[in-house]
Symmetry: C2
Subunit: 96 residues, 2 copies
DNA sequence: TGAACGTATGAGCAAGCGTTCATATATTAA
DNA sequence: TTAATATATGAACGCTTGCTCATACGTTCA
């Protein structure tokens, strides 16, 4: 059985992955880092909405930022996140 | 890039995993099937609340039921679900 | 048949979420 | 300095979520 503190963090991580827009953002970042404007174009959302979602993803350590001039380049924080996405996609594709 | 239909299903799956109570339920089911009353005791929730959550987990195919007399025995639907939990726990334990 | 038990469901409500819009901050260019 | 650009933030609003409480359903036993 999982430790209570872990239950909370695990649920938080999944909660971050539990919205289409954030899945699309992370999926877009799968190829490599992107700046906010490019993410917004890629997922078809306003830059403001993207920025709000990136803040959540940052807070819960699913992405990290690298600032360069006036741009902020975001990347998936660690390989486990992309593996979670892949695993879930496999689950979905297998239709069970 | 992920197909739009998959994005939706993947997000749905994660959304189901994104609540402490459901994580605890699934974690409890990791050892094997349990009936509703035993799940309720294990996670310290009312049977009604557990039943509501199990319905969600059933609807999105994270668990399956086997009815036997007046009990309903729930089990994790497939191994990917437990692997997702393990992967997320690893992510959390590594502290990054 | 009737009562008891295990589970499921519907309504209702407080809390949380995800967006938009307006505004603020930081950096670069003129 | 001022203007333009890229990003971040706060408030507000409608929608969703997760619970409780009451009730209903299906099964077993007397």
């Amino acid at each position: 059985m999982m430790r209570p503190a872990h239950v909370e963090s695990v649920a938080e991580t999944f909660r971050m992955l539990g919205a289409q827009t954030r899945v699309r953002i992370l999926d877009g970042l799968g190829e490599g880092e992107l700046c906010v404007g490019d993410i917004a174009k890629a997922v078809g959302m306003s830059e403001s909405a993207v920025s709000h979602q990136l803040r959540l993803l940052r807070t819960f350590r699913l992405v990290r930022v690298r600032r360069e001039g006036r741009q902020a380049y975001y990347a998936v924080d660690d390989h486990h996140i992309l593996e979670l996405l892949n695993q879930a996609r496999t689950h979905v594709e297998e239709g069970s």
